[in-house]
């Protein structure tokens, strides 16, 4: 019974992890059809911001929930102005340029922070579930993810900004007909997506520790979660995060973490072969 509880919590944590790290990428992809391959490094930057601030004596919750999204959001704005805006509509070129950006950021962070791992202790102590020792911080991550998804859903569904965003998903013409400049909407979207990536990095930093190359661990998972989910931001990300989370953790419990990850990646290939438009291209077509 305790074991079932452990498995359930681990599965929930994995789903939350996937949804949280994919949210920024999903928003940018869903609205702008831009794949940001530097997404993993945006997450990493959020993590480094949090750890650097926490070491400088700033309250860690303030650092991860406010400062990390702020710093990465501003960085995203700079990137959009300098690189992305010249490449709208050229999907492959955007992928290449952002891949270059990802290498550049890895190199820069290595220069600044060195190539050894940095970490900060998790601010929430562990607890016991029957005879198992559990990390209390995982629960915090699950809670943050649930709040984030609810906030996104509320914003997209019930606010003026959400209406414009949903218009942007259908195409730049729709935004223009609502009376807004699509370019400006894209700029704000990319900044918001970057800020979300920063939040994810900040929240995850105490749990995972960080290396300059940590971004690579996020990008592949976020990438397949978003592409497999399809164009609808919330239902797509949630459905594919749930699917991959369950598969990854159940296989990991049976056959070890490496086989778990391989199973997840293999499943992604099969799903893309069967549904190239993603899960939401076939099901929940009118979702957000």
């Amino acid at each position: 019974m305790d074991y079932a509880g452990v498995v359930l919590l681990e599965v929930l944590y994995m789903i939350a992890f996937l949804a949280l790290t994919s949210a920024g990428l999903a928003i940018v992809f869903g609205m702008m059809r831009v794949i940001n391959l530097a997404h993993g490094e945006f997450v990493m930057l959020g993590g480094y911001t949090t750890i650097a601030c926490a070491r400088a004596g700033i309250d860690i919750y303030f650092a991860m929930l406010v400062l990390a999204p702020l710093v990465v959001g501003i960085w995203g704005l700079i990137v959009e102005r300098l690189i992305i805006r010249f490449l709208y509509g050229r999907m492959i070129d955007t992928m290449l340029a952002t891949w270059g950006l990802s290498l550049l950021m890895v190199g820069a962070v290595t220069l600044i922070f060195g190539s050894s791992a940095v970490s900060v202790p998790a601010p929430i102590p562990g607890y016991r579930l029957g005879s198992y020792q559990m990390g209390g911080y995982n629960l915090f991550i699950i809670a943050v993810t649930i709040l984030l998804v609810l906030a996104l859903w509320f914003m997209l569904r019930f606010t003026r900004a959400g209406l414009i965003a949903r218009g942007a998903m259908q195409g730049p013409d729709v935004v223009a007909s609502l009376g807004y400049n699509p370019r400006k909407v894209y700029m704000i979207t990319f900044t918001a997506g970057a800020a979300l990536s920063g939040l994810a990095g900040g929240v995850l930093a105490p749990l995972t520790g960080l290396l300059p190359s940590s971004g690579g661990a996020y990008i592949a998972k976020a990438f397949i979660t978003v592409i497999t989910g399809g164009a609808a931001v919330i239902s797509g990300t949630l459905s594919s995060a749930a699917l991959f989370g369950v598969i990854n953790q159940l296989t990991s419990f049976g056959a070890g973490p490496v086989i778990g990850e391989i199973a997840m990646l293999a499943l992604a290939i099969v799903l893309l072969r069967l549904m190239p438009q993603g899960i939401t291209g076939r099901f929940f077509r009118n979702g957000t």
């Binding site: 340029a97 990802s102 550049l104 990438f223 990646l265 290939i269």
Partner: protein, 349 residues
């Protein structure tokens, strides 16, 4: 018009000059360095062939490079000689690519989705190979060795004489010959109707399909050929490094070859070759110092190329050159020359 004649019309002079330079290079340049530059050039050309001419971008071409290296290492440990392993190093990646390619192209997967799948394939290989430490993972006498890879396999020997192994200058000539032969093979493929249809698919896939060509078959074909060449490059690299590690499959390797190709120039064969050699040299020089990180420079190059010269250096230079000669000779003459050559600007070099 046969393939050979149309290869022969333009390039033989340059080709012989390049071969002569390669033949004499060991006199002037460190052979060890020159060898690895040629290997990288071959790897880049294999990607340039399918990306530049068929418009198929594999984000994880390192998968086939690594498979070639591993196929060679595993089979040479088991056989104790290098001739059959060399053949296997081409066949294994080619067959693997044929399966992956058929799955993608007959499923009408293209663009971003092809990018995801090729990337995920190389990630799977990377994760799997990294996790093969211990005695349980062995193929015949070869232990896969997990993250440490396979060291100490027999390197290239004279075909038929396992006791006479090649080291020093001869492997350099093997690499030079491989590059030149693969270049000729690629030129020949591109001059055949197979190559013409590939360029047609790049330009307008729907039209080619409506003309009755089996587009998926052509795409799978070029993917297979390209993977075989990448496998050969991987095998030569294994011989150069004398060890194979999962790092061959890593994303960094995949990104690097992509940067070489796009910086050198899409739609040419010489572009990727020169791009790989020049940027490979930069990488080796940067590796000798610790002040500036290698990936910082590579990343900056990739961004600048995509933003400023998205077609790459060689086609941009060619276009500038073509423009100058055209204005000198007058437009009508250039137009008639283009008609006579019957090629698009993207096909020269």
């Amino acid at each position: 018009m046969t393939g050979w004649r149309s290869i022969g019309r333009v390039q033989w002079g340059w080709f012989v000059a390049a071969a002569a330079v390669l033949a004499l290079l060991p006199l002037a340049f460190d052979t060890h360095t020159a060898t690895v530059l040629l290997i990288w050039a071959l790897f880049a050309m294999s990607l340039g062939l399918m990306w530049g001419f068929a418009g198929l971008l594999s984000f994880g071409h390192s998968a086939y490079f690594g498979l070639g290296a591993y196929a060679y290492a595993i089979s040479s440990v088991n056989m104790g000689e290098s001739t059959i392993p060399l053949v296997l190093a081409v066949l294994v990646p080619a067959l693997f690519a044929a399966v992956v390619g058929a799955m993608m192209f007959y499923g009408r997967i293209s663009d971003v989705y092809m990018g995801v799948i090729t990337l995920v394939v190389t990630l799977i290989l990377f994760k799997f190979m990294s996790a093969t430490a211990g005695d349980a993972y062995r193929i015949g006498d070869a232990r896969l060795g997990g993250f440490n890879g396979i060291p100490g396999f027999p390197t290239l020997n004279l075909p038929g004489f396992p006791e006479i192994s090649l080291y020093g200058v001869p492997p350099y000539y093997v690499c030079a010959a491989s590059l030149l032969l693969c270049y000729l093979l690629s030129r020949w493929i591109l001059a055949r109707s197979f190559g013409r249809v590939l360029v047609g698919i790049r330009e307008n896939e729907a039209r080619c399909e409506l003309m009755g060509y089996d587009v998926a078959l052509y795409k799978t074909g070029i993917f297979t050929i390209s993977a075989g060449m990448a496998g050969l490059a991987g095998c030569l690299f294994a011989n150069w490094a004398e060890i194979v590690t999962p790092g061959l499959f890593a994303l960094g390797q995949a990104a690097e070859v992509l940067i070489w190709v796009i910086a050198g120039g899409l739609g040419t064969l010489i572009g990727p070759i020169l791009g790989a050699m020049a940027l490979g040299m930069v990488k080796l020089l940067l590796g000798q110092q610790t002040l500036i990180d290698n990936s910082l420079v590579l990343g900056a190059i990739l961004i600048v190329v995509v933003l400023a010269i998205p077609r790459g250096v060689v086609p941009t230079v060619q276009r500038a050159w073509g423009w100058r000669t055209r204005t000198r000779r007058g437009r009508a003459k250039a137009a008639s020359a283009r008609r006579r050559l019957g090629g698009s600007p993207g096909e020269s070099a």
